[in-house]
């Protein structure tokens, strides 16, 4: 192999000096070891971008594997003379297994394949959750796809105007709080909606994210157009003896998570009861009482005293829709659309909701309009009706504070034409 050429990169050197491990070190080390010119060209181009304060990547193109409209993101350098090794530097998204459990042999194989066919650089994982393979040329795309599907039994993930790779939290595999089997659901949705994942048909991207409990470890409420968050409808399970043990200092609050500093003696009143957002808890010195009807599933008490409190056993999920990052307007969190739904395979009820939402969005959504923006444009009341769901009190914070459901003429007896004088004769003042 010919000798690799290093570029002069003083600003990149600066980035190595901080207290944290630097990606510059990582890329250099890898490039030296495997004699990859692409690594040094990449740093060279980044240096140039820092200098010019603008990107030198050209975005997009007709790259992809046959029959797929997503999974490959075309990248070309506009400095082809200076950095020939990265003139084409396409990104490949690979669908991660649910909850990102891997056998080391699968990872080893994947890395070997990528050393051979690509730049060798990866992201574990991208924000959407996929494995990101960074940098290869157009001719290698089909061979990479063949190796992924035939040898590694992996598929490309979603990109473009597609359903993006569904992501889930660690779920029942490792977490006692998980109210739903997130992995099963994630896998089921991935397999059911293969066509939507690979063949673009939507106005823009669409994301599913599934969390097992309201702690929402995949941040579905902030990122997913369609967030599925596990919850329970019965009472929080209380072990009163364990509560006493927390109060008496025998058990460490937060399972010892904040033990690095001395915070003083655990004060249940100050650290749990007073912080309850709906003030539904009460400690009488002997026993902990919870008014479960008022609980809004913030999970704080359960997080602080995990041995004493656990989610209920009658479980399902809350469905929220419309989160997005700020592009057109500001960032938006998801809105509760279905307060509670039971989730058992084959998830027919859930899929019906999903398909109704898609139908409406594909029909009414503008180019590059996220679901959250469409909901805002048509109004939540109209949206809920169009996707054939019911208005429920859980959609608003409290009565009369943010009502968005208004009576229609046909729903009011006598319509808008009721004679107020005649009414007042019967009901003075």
């Amino acid at each position: 192999m010919s000798e690799i050429k290093k570029h002069d990169t003083p600003m990149m050197e600066e980035l190595k000096k901080g207290p944290f491990p630097s990606f510059v070190d990582d890329i250099e080390q890898y490039g030296e070891k495997h004699k990859k010119q692409a690594c040094f060209d990449l740093l060279g181009q980044l240096e140039l971008s820092y200098k010019h304060k603008e990107t030198h990547w050209k975005h997009g193109g007709i790259v992809g594997v046959f029959g797929y409209g997503g999974g490959v993101i075309g990248r070309y350098s506009d400095q082809q003379d200076k950095f020939p090794a990265i003139w084409a530097f396409h990104t490949i998204r690979v669908n991660q297994p649910a909850s990102k459990f891997y056998h080391t042999s699968a990872l080893r194989k994947l890395c070997e394949m990528w050393d051979h066919r690509g730049s060798g650089m990866t992201n574990f994982h991208g924000s959407t959750g996929d494995i990101i393979l960074l940098g290869t040329v157009t001719e290698q795309l089909e061979p990479v796809f063949f190796d992924l599907t035939h040898q590694l039994k992996m598929d490309l993930g979603g990109s473009g105007s597609n359903l993006r790779t569904p992501a889930c939290c660690v779920g029942k595999a490792r977490c006692e709080w998980s109210c739903i089997d997130t992995q099963e659901l994630c896998y089921d949705l991935t397999m059911t909606y293969q066509d939507e994942l690979h063949r673009p048909a939507f106005p823009y991207k669409f994301k599913f994210k599934i969390s097992g409990c309201p702690n929402d470890c995949v941040a579905s409420i902030a990122r997913a157009d369609f967030s599925i968050i596990g919850t329970w409808i019965d009472d929080i399970r209380i072990d009163q003896e364990a509560v006493k043990a927390y109060v008496g200092g025998e058990l460490k609050p937060n399972a010892g998570a904040h033990a690095g500093r001395d915070w003083g003696k655990f004060d249940i009143q100050k650290e749990v009861i007073d912080l309850c957002p709906t003030q539904c808890m009460y400690w009488d010195g002997e026993k902990l009482h919870i008014n479960n009807k008022e609980c809004n599933r913030c999970m704080h008490c359960i997080n602080v005293m995990p041995e004493a409190l656990r989610p209920g056993t009658d479980t399902g999920a809350t469905i929220l829709m419309g989160a997005k990052a700020p592009i057109l307007e500001g960032a938006q969190l998801s809105t509760v659309i279905v307060p509670f739904i039971r989730l058992e395979p084959p998830y027919d009820e859930l899929k019906e909701i999903i398909e109704n939402v898609w139908m409406f969005w594909m029909e009414e959504g503008k180019n590059r309009e996220r679901l959250g923006e469409l909901m805002q444009r048509v109004g939540l009341a109209n949206f809920v009706e169009t996707v054939k769901l019911k208005h429920v009190p859980q959609m608003i914070k409290e009565p009369r504070s943010n009502p968005y459901v208004f009576w229609k003429e046909e729903e009011v007896e006598g319509g808008w034409k009721r004679d107020i004088k005649e009414y007042r004769e019967r009901h003075p003042a």
Binding site: G60, G74, G160, P200, A201
Partner: protein, 79 residues
């Protein structure tokens, strides 16, 4: 309208548009052929890609459709 007819209409529309734009959103095809169901147009467009008569163009965040062998930079400067 059957799928072959829709495919034909899509190709006609694409060729007409190719003079000014190199890339077309699926939504624009659906608007141009109001008599066919949007789902059918999606299916037809995807089949055309399989047959090699159309190509996907992806920016990474959005996907558009184009005729094979187009000068893709053209659309970028004229849009």
């Amino acid at each position: 309208m059957d799928i072959e007819e829709v495919k034909q209409k899509i190709l006609e529309f694409m060729e007409k548009k190719a003079k000014s734009k190199s890339k077309i959103y699926l939504k624009d095809m659906q608007r141009a052929i109001p008599d066919a169901k949007p789902m059918l147009i999606k299916k037809a467009a995807n089949q055309l890609v399989q047959e090699g008569k159309l190509e996907y163009f992806s920016t990474g965040s959005t996907v558009m459709y184009s005729l094979p062998g187009q000068d893709l930079e053209k659309g970028m400067t004229q849009e």
